[in-house]
């Protein structure tokens, strides 16, 4: 051990550092402009200790893409009185699933649950089937509850039989409280009518525009529709989305969330209900999907230093914070192996920062660089606000590092990869 310490001390004495700047940002990178102060972070617990960790990863990294929400389902509410009269089931394909949920407190839901066997289906020809007929896989509320699924108490479900067809169908129930409201969820996995929505970017920042695209298609062809949609913050503040044709065959809406909305646990969401007339029948589609919209509490200063300590290549990244918090940088180190750039390892580092400027050291263990040469690249660089669970900045191509720099900083790179100590799975 004493010998090791002597060697390490010698290595440390030769440690160097060099200044660098991050590469210019490219289209698709997430970049804060004006920072916003925030209240104390509450979303996730944080420690004040500086912690870093790196490990080997040979998995190629792809740029993040916006989530694409595709809906073949509809939600609507009806009352017990309306069910007694009969309500339209807006189905567009056979074998739709129907879920019924009384709306209200849990005790109300349990008392007002509808057993599917008590429902009457009126088929497309106007024929009234016997109670419970025209359905399959009838599951009462008590049976669904025993499956330990996260549905609300009082929820029941069934599937329409194939021979009932796709409508226009009606559903009727007797003996319900007239004023009791029910949520009806119609799910049509095989429907030719689909609503597709997505945000323009995989991640957004408060104070910057958020664009959302929408398209309703029937058998693949665009279908005119009325879109009622809202961008909803985790705290419940809604921003109406007004859709217009974007000239490329899609409907698009843009809204700019205030930078004053408090950071809260959870993600922002787009909630949408779409109405259309398809082959003379009213059709509905509903969707709801997450859009991360972060409060820009900090940003990278774009200044970076490289340092070597004998057993790690460290990238020291400048960070400017508008709010106190625990900030993390993470990235993927690529190096040249057998003549091509390949991922070598992942580095994560976090520390507490007060408002102002500081730097975070992102070390990559020298063992990760074994059997590689320059050029090296730092890719998929992220700045995260750990306490507020927010992605603040992301740059796919962040830093280029020459072989000559690494040769000075990490002179003890192994010529062969370290053998994996992982046991093989049978």
């Amino acid at each position: 051990m004493n010998h090791q310490l002597t060697v390490l001390a010698a290595l440390c004495a030769t440690a160097l550092s060099a200044h660098a700047d991050l590469l210019p940002q490219r289209a698709g990178d997430l970049t804060p402009s004006v920072l916003a102060p925030a209240a104390a972070a509450k979303a996730a617990p944080v420690t004040r200790d500086a912690v870093s960790f790196s490990w080997s990863s040979r998995a190629a990294v792809a740029a993040p893409q916006p989530f694409v929400a595709t809906s073949r389902e509809a939600y609507f509410t009806v009352t017990g009185a309306e069910l007694a009269q009969g309500v339209a089931l807006p189905v567009t394909a056979p074998r739709a699933l129907v879920r019924l949920q009384p709306v209200g407190e849990a005790s109300i839901r349990e008392n007002e649950a509808i057993h599917p066997s008590a429902l009457i289906i009126v088929d497309g020809a106007g024929r009234e089937l016997a109670a419970g007929e025209g359905m399959e896989m009838l599951v009462s509320a008590d049976k669904l509850a025993k499956a330990d699924l996260p549905f609300a108490s009082g929820t029941s479900a069934f599937r329409l039989s194939a021979d009932v067809g796709s409508g226009p169908l009606r559903m009727r129930a007797q003996g319900l409280s007239a004023a009791q409201r029910y949520l009806v969820n119609v799910v049509e996995p095989d429907s030719p009518l689909a609503l597709t929505m997505q945000a323009a970017a995989p991640a957004c920042l408060q104070g910057q525009p958020v664009t959302v695209f929408a398209q309703l298609t029937h058998q693949g062809a665009a279908t005119p529709a009325r879109i009622d949609a809202t961008l909803m913050s985790p705290a419940g503040r809604g921003y109406p989305l007004v859709f217009r044709n974007d000239g490329a065959g899609r409907m698009a809406a843009t809204v700019t969330p205030d930078a004053t909305d408090a950071a809260a646990a959870g993600l922002w969401e787009v909630q949408a209900n779409v109405k259309a007339t398809v082959r003379g029948q009213a059709a509905l589609r509903s969707t709801r999907f997450a859009v991360p919209v972060a409060l820009p509490t900090a940003k990278l200063t774009r200044s970076a230093d490289l340092a070597g300590t004998g057993n790690a290549l460290t990238v020291r990244l400048g960070v400017e914070a508008a709010s106190a918090g625990r900030y993390e940088v993470r990235g993927v180190l690529y190096g040249t192996v057998n003549g091509s750039l390949q991922p070598l390892g992942v580095g994560n580092a976090a520390q507490w920062m007060e408002p102002g400027q500081a730097s975070i050291d992102l070390p990559f263990d020298a063992a990760l660089l074994a059997a590689s040469t320059g050029p090296y690249e730092l890719r998929d660089l992220q700045l995260l606000d750990q306490g507020r669970l927010a992605e603040l900045q992301r740059q796919q191509m962040a830093l280029a590092i020459d072989e000559s720099e690494v040769a000075k900083l990490v002179p003890t790179r192994s010529a062969v990869p370290l053998p994996s100590s992982a046991r093989m799975k049978n």
Partner: protein, 290 residues
């Protein structure tokens, strides 16, 4: 970069020392990590004692196991979730000198474990835990979320103007919505397609179907009534699912160890309730793995 930018700096000796220390031999242990829910006696209420006792017989010392009890109704990063899990794993590792830990997770427990492995800098205990892990066996993990979580939360959204304030649904269910998991997988979790690898292997066991005929004895393993509800929920999912999760979600992170039918006794499928129980030889497969 030109040489004029070079300068001498101080040495971070602690980093060098940590790497120079030899790997120390210790003990093998196994940890059981439950899924969504606030557990106080997961050995009896979630896994069943017969499942735990069967698996731990594969250890050199069968007493070196821990059954985690945490509040996984919370978001995976919450102190009552990942923080609690880290506390119980860290305590077990330190008290038993564990250097070779096999972690058995079920359902959302795989996400909480993956949170710890993907966010080693969130808590100073996380690196110690990661270093001790040999691998994670993720039984039916909800790695890509499930449309059933979306359906459950959507139902609740009609309860009030802002959607989810009645509190019926847990944060854990909200987090397991498909678009939510897509976001966390793309930003703060590792191990999915197009993302860096996790620091330790994450092997999934994938349930592919649900048998729920009262005349089929296999439907009774894990409880017949539980499996009846799971069969109808398959309608929300694609053709390969365990009644709660699509196979693509279960296979979405790490590497797929096996599909249920490829290794279970009689090639029986494992429904979502059966993949945490002593059904069709699953316990023996896990016992032989530790």
């Amino acid at each position: 970069m030109n040489s004029s930018k070079w300068k001498m700096s101080g040495c971070i000796l602690t980093v060098a020392l940590a790497a120079a220390l030899p790997v120390r031999a210790g003990n093998t242990g196994v940890a059981f990590v439950h899924g969504t829910g606030n557990q106080t006696n997961a050995a009896n209420d979630y896994w069943t004692r017969e499942m735990i006792d069967s698996v731990r017989q594969g250890l050199p010392d069968p007493s070196r196991y821990v059954v985690v009890n945490c509040d996984f109704d919370q978001y995976m990063w919450a102190s009552a979730a990942a923080g609690c899990l880290a506390g119980q794993l860290h305590g077990f590792i330190v008290a038993n000198d564990i250097t070779d830990l096999v972690v058995e997770t079920h359902s959302n427990g795989g996400n909480v474990m993956r949170w710890i492995m993907s966010n080693p800098t969130q808590d100073s205990r996380f690196p110690t835990i990661i270093r001790a892990i040999r691998w994670v066996n993720a039984l039916a993990p909800s790695s890509l979320g499930t449309p059933l979580a979306d359906a459950a939360i959507a139902g609740n959204a009609f309860e009030s103007a802002v959607g989810w304030l009645l509190g019926f649904k847990s944060d854990a269910v909200r987090q397991q919505q498909v678009s939510w998991m897509a976001n966390y997988n793309a930003t703060m979790l590792y191990g999915t397609a197009g993302r860096p690898a996790l620091p330790k292997p994450f092997h999934s066991v994938v349930g592919t179907d649900v048998d729920s005929s009262p005349f089929d004895g296999d439907s009774w393993c894990g409880g017949y009534p539980e499996n009846v509800g799971l069969e109808v929920t398959q309608g929300w999912l694609n053709s390969c699912s365990d009644g709660f999760l699509e196979c693509t979600s279960q296979s979405g992170a790490g590497t797929r160890w096996f599909y249920d039918k490829d290794r279970t006794n009689g090639s029986e499928p494992l429904s979502h309730n059966q993949s945490r129980r002593k059904c069709f030889g699953l316990d023996v497969i896990l016992r032989n793995d530790v």
